[in-house]
Amino acid sequence: MNGSGVDIPDRLAHLPGAAASKHLTRGVLTGQEQPPRVALLRASAPIADQSARWECAPLRELLEEAMRRFADSRSRADAWLAPRLHATLRMSRNEAADPAIWNFLALVAAPDYVIWRHRSPAEARNGEPGSVSPVRFTGPHYNQAFARLWWAAELFRNGENYRPAEIACGNQDVLNTALRLDAIDHRPTALAMVRVLEGLSASGASRLGDRVNALCSAVNAAGSTLMYDVIAADELPDQDGLRDWIEGADSAPAVPWDRLPDGPDDGTAPRDSVETLTRLFDKFQAEAPLRIRKWQPADEPSAQGVSLHKDYV
């Protein structure tokens, strides 16, 4: 037991999607009820591998610290949590692609975190409680509360350096839009997009979210005729480096809270490749049209001046 009132299992397990979605009742999604622990544990399959990486306690510690640190601004927790979650829950892509592990984490090990991070504000009009979209509990890798952070860290890290992943996760539009794109499966593309984003934030560009979305559309559209992999070659990750890191989970200390942890030492993307694509994407970014917003405070005259609206008394 802990302060949050969630009874924590010792180790992670696999919870099948059908069993998970069955228990996502309105009460669970609004955070008013706990998911039925006994039934969920019974539906779960244990993980045979006895490695320490499947222990729940280090994950709980991390999530509780995130809730404490970012009590006032929960979306900022993503950038802090993503690299630390990735470095705590050490897995190969093969293992992380199994939704059952994420279902278990969200419904059994940390439902309180999913509610804390993703619950919409209560609806003011009829006083209904806010709720969490079911995809945050069991959903595709770019939606699920923990999978999205783990995969963002995996796809945006550069070898053992998590800094690009931290920058990427500091922007909700990257998490919501870029993470869906197949283009970022090519590492130099992902890293170059982070560089462009970094440049934009540093220059204090306006409408950063719209710019990120425009950049994503442009990179994706150009990617259908331009083969980024040929313009900017990448190397295969070093499997030995990754394996050593995963096996090191048994002896590794808990991840640091105030500096970034080190990721697997499986090789970095070729510097030239990232630079070539950064130049290209900078150009895309400068040329990409921004989405037209319905509200544009600066350009649109206020309703009062051109009113067709009459006040009938």
Binding site: A18, S92, A97, L236
Partner: protein, 325 residues
């Protein structure tokens, strides 16, 4: 390729052949490769924990067309992708001057794949001063199946037996009187067959006299029909939208279900239009009820209900004739 390209692309075909498959350095027998199905099966019972595979390819590009065309710095690349692990591995192939074929090897790292990867080949060149343009892609990609022992493209729906009444899966208990259940929430749709429902498994094995076989075929067709209907509904409900609110073609089994069923559900519409139509009807609710008979028709056609029913009717007629004769 159906996309419109703002530059000249190849008309000729790109032909891809898998020459050899290795895991952990050891060559596998060529029975794991099916050329007509364009599939490679990498699962080896003898070596379940392999780590490092490779696929040797040989590719023929339309060389005459390339020689006369406006393309320079032509390269040929093999692209191995798998959506569920976000893995994308691209390797350049080398051109052999004598045979004018391109060849090379694509690594398949077990830790980077889960289930099924797709292998395709593209020709890339500099066109109009722009480097790295895709000028052609092989018509059909190869399937690299890491869980299958035999190389087949079309996957069958998984059928698993489970004891709904006394088995370990708690959530199946409320369904203890159902003979089967279709589950579409996972990576692969599964039909769960209730082994506590007396006689169902024997019936489906359906060996023996023609009447038993006919009954078995009929039940199998009914299960398949329900599975197709469930998969279709699930695929439509799970559609993801792009920025403009248009539905995207999903991946995996959802894609193949929609591709095979939409032409029967909304005849005469192109895939993209049918997808928009079916999404609108589902989301907005108009005409969704009317669509049910079309879905039902498409599903029973896929499940071969008419064919199995005819066989059953004939078998019954014959057995009655036999009795009265």
């Amino acid at each position: 390729m159906n996309t419109l390209f703002p530059y000249p692309t190849l008309v000729g075909e790109i032909e891809v052949r898998v020459k050899q498959v290795r895991i952990d350095g050891k060559p596998l027998s060529l029975s794991v490769v099916s050329r007509p199905q364009r599939a490679v099966a990498l699962h080896q019972v003898e070596r379940p924990n392999w780590e490092d595979g490779s696929i040797d390819l040989e590719v023929t590009l339309p060389e005459l067309e390339l020689a006369d065309g406006p393309w320079s710095e032509v390269a040929c690349v093999a692209i191995l992708t798998e959506g569920s692990t976000n893995t994308r591995v691209v390797r350049r192939l080398q051109r052999d001057r004598l045979s004018s074929t391109w060849s090379g090897s694509v690594p398949v790292l077990r830790a980077m794949h889960r289930d099924r990867a797709t292998l395709n080949v593209s020709a890339v060149a500099t066109v109009g001063g722009v480097a790295g343009r895709t000028i052609g892609t092989a018509d059909e990609a190869w399937i690299i199946d890491l869980l299958a022992r035999t190389p087949v493209r079309q996957r069958e729906i998984e059928i698993a037996e489970a004891d709904f009444r006394d088995g370990p899966q708690e959530w199946l208990r409320p369904f203890k009187d159902a003979p089967w259940l279709v589950e579409t929430a996972g990576e692969m749709p599964t039909i769960l067959l209730n082994s506590s429902f007396e006689g169902i498994t024997q019936l489906l094995k359906g060996s023996g006299n023609p009447l038993e076989k006919a009954a078995s075929g009929l039940v199998a067709a009914q299960i398949a029909g329900e599975a197709w209907t469930a998969m279709f509904h699930s695929a439509v409900a799970d559609l993801e939208l792009d920025d403009d609110g248009a539905p995207l073609i999903p991946s995996g089994w959802r894609e193949s279900v929609l591709r095979t069923m939409l032409p029967d559900v909304l005849p005469g519409l192109a895939l993209a239009d049918a997808l928009i139509e079916v999404h609108n009807r589902h989301a907005a609710g108009y005409g969704w009820a009317e669509l049910q008979s079309q879905i039902h028709f498409a599903a029973s056609r896929r499940a071969q209900v008419p064919k199995n029913l005819t066989t059953a009717v004939r078998a019954i007629t014959r057995s009655q004739e036999g009795a009265t004769r």
